[in-house]
């Protein structure tokens, strides 16, 4: 049995003049989360649409659990759950009616449809609202219902296109927890996001794409170590102390950025470099009154990879 659940090789897709995907390849091992990261229009939704059989690629091939997404589309559909960018639930049905409909269309065993729908309403905290029309739901509730609808037939592979876009922080945390518990039970997940924090929290592996091709890949930690710089913020008691520190740091080969009584230094060598920075001040300047170390975020990685800033 192949341990790669999702494999894509050289996916290409154009819409008229626009090249949405320009030869993208990716691999997702069983039971892991791949975070597909990129700005608007980078090809994230196109990728998910192709892998979930909603769209056929112009070139390249992709398989899910060994089934080709074009030739064996029917088999792929039976094994995947998909929640698109917009909550695709019917506003004129109740939450329960929506789940029962999707369960039947997902070919859940007829006698189990009701129980399965109720189970997921419960799991996503929608039991109390189950009898209300979805048009009365908040955005967060719709989103949860949408993700619940993708899980009705217990799919081993789950595609989520920007699952938490537009959600309030509490709903986002709740959805993250749901996704984590799915992964613990063995589900393989491919999710797209614009939120670097989300990829950081959920993804085992991150693929950064821009203009339809891959610009970086690795674990969130590797990417941050490779592309992000650690920031040291030193605070001093007086401006004259800060002046002295600036001179001392410059003499030691750093490039301090001065702002009032505080100084910022960028380090490409990780947070351990703070010791050397502080040693270069020792005996020359009064000790700083505050020291803060800011680890790089995926935002930093993202900006440097997509050309927002040099690495």
């Amino acid at each position: 049995m192949n341990d790669l659940v999702i494999e894509a090789e050289g996916l290409r897709k154009t819409f008229g003049q626009v090249t949405a995907l320009d030869g993208l390849s990716l691999r997702v091992p069983r039971g892991t989360v791949l975070g597909l990261l990129g700005p608007n229009g980078s090809g994230k939704t196109t990728t998910v649409s192709i892998l979930s059989t909603a769209l056929a690629p112009d070139a390249g091939r992709a398989t899910v659990l060994g089934y080709d997404v074009v030739r064996d589309a029917a088999r792929v559909r039976a094994t995947i759950g998909f929640a698109g960018q917009f909550a695709a639930v019917d506003p004129n049905l109740t939450g329960r009616e929506n789940l029962r409909l999707i369960a039947r269309l997902s070919h859940v065993n007829r006698p189990l449809v009701r129980a399965r729908a109720d189970e997921l309403l419960e799991a996503f905290g929608l039991t109390a609202a189950a009898g209300r029309l979805v048009r009365t739901y908040s955005g967060g509730m719709r989103r949860r219902l949408d993700v619940a609808a993708a899980l009705l037939h217990n799919p081993p592979v789950l595609f989520l296109d920007e699952p938490t876009t537009g959600l309030d922080p509490e709903s986002r945390l709740g959805l993250w927890e749901s996704i984590r518990s799915l992964v613990r039970s063995g589900t393989t997940v491919l999710l797209t996001t614009q939120y670097l924090e989300e990829a950081d929290v959920l993804a085992d592996e991150v693929v950064v794409i821009s203009e339809g091709h891959l610009v970086g890949t690795g674990t969130p930690g590797e990417l941050k170590a490779r592309f992000g710089s650690v920031l040291f913020d030193l605070g001093f008691g007086t401006r004259s102390d800060a002046d002295l520190a600036t001179k001392a740091l410059t003499a030691a080969g750093y490039r301090p950025e001065r702002s009032g009584t505080s100084i910022r230094i960028r380090s490409a060598d990780g947070s351990a470099a703070i010791a050397r920075v502080l040693r270069s001040l020792d005996g020359l300047v009064p000790d700083p009154t505050s020291v803060a170390v800011r680890e790089p975020t995926l935002d930093d990685v993202f900006l440097s990879l997509t050309g927002g800033q040099l690495s």
Partner: protein, 252 residues
């Protein structure tokens, strides 16, 4: 097997959705009733068709007009599903492909049956009598429903091609006005100038109205009924095939 149950599920969902959309209900059920009453009482007094009660002349026309305009709902519903992402979800489910379009047109067929029955009831209250009996009336209504089913496939094609529901309405309304009001739905074609008659009497809405009247008002009906059936069958074959092609193409 699953194709049938999937289609039934989608049909049920589409009917339920329409029942819960007040605008759709007004458009589908209230508006036709107003038209019956309006033409019967407001215009009817001024329109004289020799040899028949105007209300008996009118009802076949109103049936045709109602299902023709009602078909816009098919395009609007499909276009709404397209925009909301529900059709994208449907494409990723292991359900039968045919269920999306079949469920839409069958729901609209069911709606048309209800609306036509409702209008016949209102028509009877307003003096409509179908002088040649119930069988003739049922035959005429059968033609109406067949025409409605065929035309809903035209609007499936439209719904799949336009960018939003408003565009579907904008594209459909002028064409429908032309077809319905150049036909003999409300006034005899004989009263129109020759060039308009030529356009008005060679199109499916007029063929339907003529065949309905032949049945309801009596006289030789076989030829007119065959012409109307031929139109409906032709429209159905061409546009159902086109609709399936357009739907399959959407995922390319």
């Amino acid at each position: 097997m699953t194709a049938l149950t999937d289609t039934a599920d989608v049909t049920w969902r589409n009917l339920l959705t329409q029942l819960r959309t007040p605008q759709a209900l007004v458009f589908a059920a209230v508006q036709p009733v107003i038209f019956v009453l309006l033409f019967r009482y407001a215009f009817g007094g001024a329109i004289h068709v020799p040899g028949v009660n105007y209300v008996d002349f009118l009802m076949p026309g109103i049936f045709a007009q109602t299902v023709a305009f009602g078909a816009i709902g098919t395009a609007v519903g499909l276009s709404t599903d397209l925009r909301s992402g529900i059709l994208i979800r449907f494409r990723t489910l292991p359900m039968a492909r045919v269920a999306v379009l079949g469920g839409r047109t069958l729901a609209d067929l069911a709606r048309n049956l209800l609306v036509v029955a409702l209008m016949a009831g209102v028509g009877f209250a307003a003096g409509f009598r179908s002088p040649h009996g119930a069988a003739a009336l049922l035959g005429a209504l059968g033609l109406v429903v067949m025409f409605a089913f065929a035309v809903s496939w035209v609007f499936v094609c439209l719904g799949l091609r336009v960018s939003d529901p408003e565009a579907a309405q904008a594209a459909a309304v002028p064409v429908l006005f032309l077809l319905v009001f150049t036909s003999s739905a409300f006034v005899p074609s004989g009263a129109m100038p020759g060039w308009l008659q030529a356009i008005g009497t060679h199109q499916p809405v007029d063929a339907l109205v003529v065949a309905e009247r032949a049945l309801i008002l009596g006289g030789p009906a076989a030829h007119d009924v065959l012409v109307s059936l031929a139109w409906s069958a032709g429209i159905l074959m061409v546009f159902a095939a086109l609709a399936v092609r357009l739907y399959v193409r959407m995922s390319r």
